[in-house]
């Protein structure tokens, strides 16, 4: 077995037993990146020297008896998350040369836990997209089929995990941006509850929806990573001051006494739904029943409004969040004759088409005269969507739903039709609007051999029950053990 294909928990044992060193592990992963990333293009920035230095340091720390939870584990960071001294572009020209002087709190937690930062992964510009094609730099390829997208916006992180270019990665999820690429790439993608992980240092897209999440090779790894990055942060007023439970303790393997809800709205969208996806998720529900879970049909009646509500709230917040990119203090500046022209040229050249589209949508949605009709109305419907979940979680412990209506689509297929692109997130948007948690795990493959993902959703701060159910399913199935054939992308 190659070192780069280890999971975090496997590598952790080997490191603890001194069977491998952090340096060997890091070298193996860096070599792997050199071998495959020309084809996959998961990384925007690589930091090999720093990574090797950190690996040596990790080995030295271990010699001194340190056993920090991620000591010597090489990970990747989505490029919307700030890393001190390492370029952080958000996938945008406007931040092409931006090097933050600070770490995001989640990154600081990873470093404190001994993790080794390999580099920064590709993303749709400012996390706006579902395919990573909106990156200003290049598109990332799906390791299962290089002609297909890895999903997005955390497509770089998901592809890197799937192609063994890191042991785990951070992503961000505003409307499904961790879960949908996890589904497309056949890996585990966890979106924590809003407020569970600090947003400090996460470049804001839509502040009331954004949450840092993790991409991992299996559920155990997702739990390990979440354990490290979760917790209250006084620098983020929306982070919640609740104790962080022991997530590993939730991975019991049993499902007795667990009630699983199956919402009819997530299985009744025939026009966009790939039948194999429905079938795979239904089969997975059967597995959960076999494992002892009680299955309950439920309804989340406002599901159909999630998409329009999301596309009012997210662009509205984004249009304000992106106002700071004006060329005055950092990032791209296209100097022109006067101030207004400089603004126009800087933002005109700095933002890509999707960024501009959302800035315009958002500016319109809360300009004078439209605020009540759009923004305020959307907030009211958001409350109804939240109430749907509150009611459901009064009856069930977790909810099962497909992660995306289809498996990975072809590169270029939906670029010209933003509405089609937006539809690929219809099953993941509601959870961000409601602020709840969920994980996408592999649950099958379609006739093209592309991975299918299913979501296990829990109430706010219900990460333990979500991980418990996901882990039990994973233990009972072998989907997560399948790897893409790297003969197609290895140099």
């Amino acid at each position: 077995m190659e070192l780069y294909s280890l999971t975090i928990h496997e590598a952790r044992s080997l490191l603890a037993e001194r069977k491998i060193s952090a340096l060997e592990l890091t070298e193996a992963v860096l070599e792997r990146i050199l071998e495959v990333d020309n084809a996959i293009r998961a990384y925007l920035t690589l930091t090999p020297e720093e990574a090797l230095e950190q690996a040596r340091l990790a080995d030295a720390r271990r010699t001194q008896g340190d056993d920090a939870p991620l000591l010597g584990i090489p990970v990747a960071i989505k490029d919307v998350i700030c890393t001190a001294g390492i370029p952080t572009t958000a996938g945008s020209r406007i931040l092409e040369n931006f090097i933050p002087p600070y770490d995001a709190t989640a990154v600081a937690h990873l470093k404190a836990a001994g993790a080794i930062i390999l580099g920064k992964t590709n993303t749709d510009e400012f996390a706006m997209g579902s395919s990573t094609e909106n990156s200003a730099f290049f598109a990332t390829r799906n390791p299962w089929d290089l002609e297909r997208v890895p999903g997005g916006s955390s497509g770089g992180s998901a592809a890197a995990v799937a192609a063994d270019e890191c042991l785990g990665a951070l992503g961000s999820d505003t409307g499904g941006s961790v879960r949908q690429p996890a589904s497309f790439c056949g890996v585990v993608g966890l979106k924590p509850t809003y407020g569970r992980v600090s947003r400090y240092g996460l470049i804001a897209f839509a502040s009331s929806l954004d949450q840092i999440g993790v991409l991992a090779k299996d559920v155990t790894d997702a739990a390990i990573l979440l354990q490290v990055i979760a917790g209250y942060d006084p620098r983020d007023s929306t982070s919640v001051n609740l104790p962080v439970p022991d997530y590993m303790a939730a991975l019991t393997g049993g499902l007795h006494g667990v009630t699983v809800g199956v919402p009819k709205e997530y299985f009744a969208a025939p026009e966009v739904m790939q039948p194999e996806v429905t079938a795979a998720v239904q089969a997975a529900v059967g597995v959960l029943a076999d494992l002892g879970a009680r299955i309950l049909d439920i309804s989340l009646p406002h599901t159909e409004y999630a998409l329009p509500v999301y596309y009012l709230i997210a662009p509205a917040e984004a249009s304000a969040n992106l106002a700071r990119y004006d060329g005055v203090r950092y990032g791209l500046r296209v100097e022109r004759g006067d101030l207004i022209e400089t603004y126009n040229a800087t933002r005109g050249q700095g933002f890509g088409p999707e960024g501009k589209r959302r800035i315009m949508l958002g500016t319109y949605a809360w300009s004078a005269g439209y605020y009540d009709a759009y923004y305020l109305k959307a907030q009211k419907v958001r409350t109804l969507i939240r109430a749907d979940f509150d009611a459901a979680f009064g009856q069930v412990d977790v909810i099962i739903a497909p992660t995306a209506p289809t498996t990975a689509f072809r590169i270029g297929e939906k670029v010209a039709d933003p509405l089609q692109m937006y539809l690929s997130d219809i099953f993941t948007l509601s959870m961000n609007l409601a602020g709840i948690c969920g994980v996408s795990i592999p649950c099958g493959f379609d006739h093209d051999g592309l991975p299918i993902g299913m979501q296990v959703l829990g109430p706010a701060f219900g990460e333990e029950q979500v991980l418990r159910v996901a882990y039990a399913y994973e233990q009972a199935t072998e989907w997560h053990l399948r790897k893409p054939d790297d003969g197609r992308f290895r140099k």
Partner: protein
Amino acid sequence: MKYEAVIGLEVHAQIHTRSKMFCPCPVVEDTGDLPPNTYVCPVCAGMPGTLPVINRRAIEMAIKTGLALHCEIPPVSCFARKSYFYPDLPKGYQISQYELPLCVNGYLDIETEEGTKRIRITRAHMEEDAGKLYHMGDGSSRVDLNRAGVPLLEIVSEPDMRSVAEVIAYATRLHSYLVYLGVNSGDMEKGVMRFEANVSVRPAGSDALNPRHEIKNLNSFRALARSVAYEIESQIATLEQGGVIVQQTMGWDESRGITVPQRGKEYAHDYRYFPDPDLPPLEISRAWVEELRAGLPELPDARRARFIRDYGLSAYDAGLLVAERAVADYYESTLSQLASAAEPKAVANWITGEVFRLMNENGCTITGAPPPSQLAELIDLVQDGTINLNTGKRVLEEMFTTGRSARQIVEERGLAQISDTAALERIVAQVLNGHPTEVTQYLSGKVQLFGWLMGQVMRATQGKANPQLVKELLQAQLEARRSG
């Protein structure tokens, strides 16, 4: 036709916390020589991914101000983003308040010629200050973010004022309140208080609200008074000539003494306020409000009433003393350090008379005056007769300029008054012998010559004679000559 003005005021007051509104950077008053961008961090520079955290101290000071202005403090307050592009605004939006401000429905009473008048306060809300833009000689502009993120309280009045005098009475009283509360240094030259006046005019007695002119960015009481006076006159003139007033934003041109319409894109805003998702609504418990209320200092009105009641001062003198917290403190500190039984009224006279006059002459504030302990010593010297009142005034002048104590000056210059009866009797006799004509005239009924004779005696003693004693001795010797 007779017109009346309708004026409302928005006051932007810096809140003097140690750190900025949403980040740990220190708040530093702009002394003019502060190197630019030295008190800036990723948060107040609007760097990607940074988040604001509310400064609780700033909220407390704002609530205290609201309570002092008789406002209601709603149980939930909300921060909003106010969007516009300008190079001194790092995030492209200002964190401010729109719906659910911290303080609502208050008032401030002012003194006018017709008596006390109540000016209603619509709301007071918190926001962060922007940075400062410097336009360089070469046509470029530079941004300084030292001030960006400094907490501001915007206090908005109803259009309840009808004259420049009322506007100034309101503005100065508000200024005095803020200084009393310790919320603001009151140092206008450092831009810690800025005004925006909304002015319209209408036929006297009408209750119409006509289109108004908003005069922005007024940084002194003088600019406020002049610009409002100008607006009232020019609007009346416009109406009398059959013209129409349109609602407009104006700037004040200090050098030309006129208001000018502000054009340009930066004034045509749709601010697109919406609740800031980075800051959950602030819950303000009643217990917190009551705790803050209990901690309010004595405010000008209460202090004035106490001065009248406890020290027997006139309303006018008490008003003069409490207008500035530092002066009122100076007065009470002087009182507490008196060794003699000088009257509080006399001490007030010293301050509102001589001390104020000398502050004016020396171009200083009360902090530049001799300390209260030294004023108390001087008043004691006058009270116990060591020096007379006129000498005392001369000594105070010297205290201002040299910084020396009253006792030192009196001793070194030999100013102690002559109260030795025998010595004075000799001098009086000499003076009377030296002016036989005047003595005869006095004795034959020209009594007003008494003052002149007294002056001759004082001159003969270089002003050091105890005037009361001189008066007695002079009277006695003159009467003696009448009978003799």
